[in-house]
Amino acid sequence: MTTRLPVIELRQITKTFGNFTAVHSIDLSIGEGEFFTIVGPSGSGKTTVLRMLAGLESPTSGDIVLRGQRINDVPANRRPTCMVFQSLALFPHRTVGQNIEFPLKIRDVAPEERKKRALQLMAQLRLPEDYYGKNVTKCSGGERQRVALARALAYNPDILFFDEPLSAIDYKLRKTLEKELKDIHRETGKTFIYITHSLEEAMVMSDRIGVMRLGRLVQVGTPNEIYTAPNSKFVSEFIGDVNIIPVRLANGNRLQSDELGAEFSAPGMPAGFSVGHLVVRPESLRIIERREDAENVLTGTLYNEYALGSRIQYQVRVGEQVFIVERLRQQALNGRLDTQVLVGWNARDSILVGD
């Protein structure tokens, strides 16, 4: 992966509202032309971080640096950045064309120039030309997204911010727009900083992801790194269905689970490890016929199945705990519900995390 020059950096950024600390001393560096997504549950502080980058909030302490220059005191309307808001904030009293041309109009660009640029953007975002005079309140959800994006791109900002723009859209449209956003990112080459609460969405579009929790940046990495090497229980759970076994260090570098009464081989041991969690992804867990087929094996009851399109998810009860196993549709197990099964995995397919 090519290293990019940092375009915007957060250095020791903290934000407090009265007694409440929304953001704790964050350090972050985002590269030129990168698609960076900040992910976190509500209340994690991600919106606050985005607003500070845009200039709509000021940090309580710390510096925001744009290409080497400190911009804490630069107001939002003078930063070379543009935000696409969650509600899209399209001006309801203006047409599509007027909305897109707004940033140009207030910079005194001539009407013919503005119109040319607006039509160019509309073509790039696949909006029909005759929408130019259409009132925005009559556009569909997907169309409004595109108008908001066109408006943000109109005067060529260096960085675009996105505040969970797809959260209120239905699934199918969201999937389409996610792909389109990624295409537009490649076409324009601009830096996109995106926030969402869905890690799945982030993985589709981003070059790098930052996971936030309760005001702190917990892990930063590529989608692959986050997925295969989460550094904590929180991050591993964030991806969705995952199997987590609380373990402690046992003799001979093995891991002991007291609830399950079993021992497992470890995939590599961080120094000083004593207590933590063993994470096994559903697709790494297998339903096997013989104990010898895997390094670590548990016995349980197959108690439910969920069809997920190209995959099938099985729930296996081992004592009090439920394990999730995923198989391809072609490998469906038929007629084995409520029977005993063996689930197993190899150490290298598991991840060991602290807390």
Partner: protein, 269 residues
């Protein structure tokens, strides 16, 4: 039609009948005024012995009446302009921004509305006297404002409540100066509320009696004149003016509302 639907229809008809009865009740006096204005005789008896529009002519030609109109309109226009300006900012504080003390502020602003107007008029009379201000149509403007500014603030606030703050932030983020944000986004989007507020301000001032009675001094507004004539010295000129007053109000309101609807339709094309 099943029984549930039938009873629902029945209930709806009852509600309609009741409401329309009350509407007729509301407009009966206006009807009487209209009838009383169309008599040629000096006193009012019903059924009208002799129809005629002489009194309409007399009223429209009267110098005294013209003076009254001038006074009432001057007061109303001045009140409208001042009230809407103060109330616009007041409404932003009421409904748009989060701030400590907003809840108390909201109640303070509404207080003059929940207050007997005649007592307010008398209090202002006292106050003007204590401070040494002469009573004239200008003091009446001030008096009207005390009641009307809170009302207009309320009316504009209702519009402000549904204003998406992200609109202003977006405009700012896209590069607009604070003045441009106000001019291009805030004012146009809030315009319907401001327009309704202006209409309210004008009409409430135009028709106001209790406050005018105590604070206009030597000047007279139309409602004051009508009251004096009602108590002593009735002429059919009274119902003429009364009808004109009602019709003006109806016209302005329906016209104003019509304008808003037309504007909305034009924008959505």
């Amino acid at each position: 039609m099943n029984p549930a639907e039938r009873s629902q229809r029945w209930r709806a008809s009852l509600l309609w009948a009741w409401t329309l009865t009350v509407v007729v009740f509301m407009y009966l006096p206006a009807l009487c005024l209209l009838l009383a204005s169309a008599t040629a005789s000096r006193y009012f008896t019903f059924p009208i012995p002799k129809w005629g529009f002489d009194w309409w002519q007399k009223t429209f030609n009267s110098f005294e009446i013209h003076q009254l109109f001038k006074t009432s309109i001057s007061i109303a226009l001045l009140v409208t302009v001042i009230a809407v300006t103060i109330a616009f900012f007041g409404a932003l504080a009421f409904a748009r921004y989060e701030w400590k003390g907003r809840s108390l502020y909201q109640k303070i602003v509404l207080l003059p509305i929940f207050f007997p107007q005649s007592v307010l008029g008398l209090a202002l009379l006292l106050w003007f006297n204590a401070v040494g201000i002469d009573l004239s149509w200008k003091s009446a403007v001030f008096a009207h404002l005390v009641w009307i500014v809170p009302v207009v603030t309320l009316v504009i606030s209702i519009q402000v409540y549904s204003f998406d703050p992200a609109l202003e932030e977006a405009a700012f983020d896209l590069g607009a100066t604070r003045w441009q944000v106000m001019k291009e986004v805030t004012l146009p989007v809030l315009f319907p509320g401001i327009f309704s507020g202006s209409l309210f301000a004008f009409l409430l001032s135009w028709g106001n009696f209790p406050l005018s009675l105590f604070t206009t001094g030597a000047d007279t507004t139309i409602p004051e004149y009508l009251y004096a004539k009602m108590v002593a010295g009735y002429t059919p000129g009274v119902p003429v003016l009364g009808t004109v007053s009602t019709v003006t109000a109806a016209f302005l309101l329906l016209g104003g509302y019509g304008l808003i609807v037309l504007r909305r339709r034009a924008r959505l094309k």
